[in-house]
Symmetry: C2
Subunit: 195 residues, 2 copies
């Protein structure tokens, strides 16, 4: 009955700061993506890591700091935003860039869910991630508009594409049986044309 080597040991286990910090961020991201920031407590995160509340706060001064670290972790894992770099004279090429991102995101359910859940929660001006999503949304729309500069009204097209994009992710998060690529292709077949 010795629990010294169990998966959830009682003994005090030390980890290198960077390792522990990483673990905390990963567990926090997992919990927050499942239920939202407002529904996750310091104790929940500590439990998930097998440590106590003050140990979490030793690595992150406050819950808001931890959330910031989770958002930074999310950015770090996000698909490279090629639509801000490349040239998009060719609609078909633009389509392929967006399409491959959809393909990539379909392998990252937790990260997409984190985005969907936090984005809605952060609509509140008082939410600690409000500013983050304000800025991120602005940059995304600008990038989309640049990638759609061959359209008559690039910003209008960007809003249309961004609406469909985020809506599709939300639908997929709610129902994992949905094939995002199939729905994307149906939309893209009409959207990525010069006419």
């Amino acid at each position: 009955m010795n629990a010294a080597t169990d998966s959830a040991p009682r003994a005090q286990r030390r980890l290198a700061p960077e390792v522990r910090r990483r673990q905390i961020v990963l567990e926090a991201a997992r919990l927050i993506s499942a239920a939202g920031f407002n529904a996750v407590s310091l104790a929940d995160i500590a439990d998930a890591c097998g440590i106590r509340k003050p140990s979490v706060l030793h690595h992150f001064p406050s819950m808001a700091d931890l959330l910031a670290a989770v958002l930074a972790y999310r950015d770090e894992l996000s698909y490279p935003v090629r639509y801000e770099v490349e040239d998009f004279a060719d609609p078909a090429a633009a389509n392929e860039v967006f399409r491959s991102t959809v393909e990539h995101n379909q392998q990252q359910r937790e990260l997409v869910r984190l985005y969907v859940v936090l984005r809605a929660e952060a609509l509140d001006v008082g939410h600690p991630a409000h500013g983050y999503f304000l800025e991120r949304e602005r940059r995304a729309l600008d990038g989309f508009a640049r990638a759609l500069s061959w359209k008559p009204k690039p910003m209008l097209a960007a809003r249309e594409l961004y609406s469909f994009w985020t809506g599709l992710e939300a639908l997929w998060v709610a129902d994992p049986t949905v094939d995002m690529l199939e729905v994307w292709d149906a939309f893209a077949a009409r959207f990525f044309t010069i006419s």
Copy 2:
């Protein structure tokens, strides 16, 4: 300095149960649409109504019951779902029905925001509104597919339309300067065609 007739009086004011219940639901809907159910407390709602916490619980046994009443109130105010009744052999007619709903929703910012915020929060299986949105989403998609039965793949088209629809509402909630009708028309010009 007598506060007896002030807008926030200290004196005990009685209201007819149905009136008080209505007030509580309205204030709860307003607060929840702003910050989400998880961010609103019983005390917040009581304060907004100018009463104490136990008085709120006198009319609604628990917070979950109050949330259910808020959702029922939302349904009651929602635009009549004509796409479940009418015949949609004509794509242009279908477009007009959806379009008028977008037009209507653009006058109901708080209600739309309530939907957007709660929908994301309720992705969590443990959320008190989880079942509500599961059922609602299913019915919406079924209704959309029926209205799009002239499409080669009605359910695929329904998913595409629903993704764009909800995404557009989310974008508009985040940025009220967006003209939903303009973006809708850009999408609909390509979507509601037989080709």
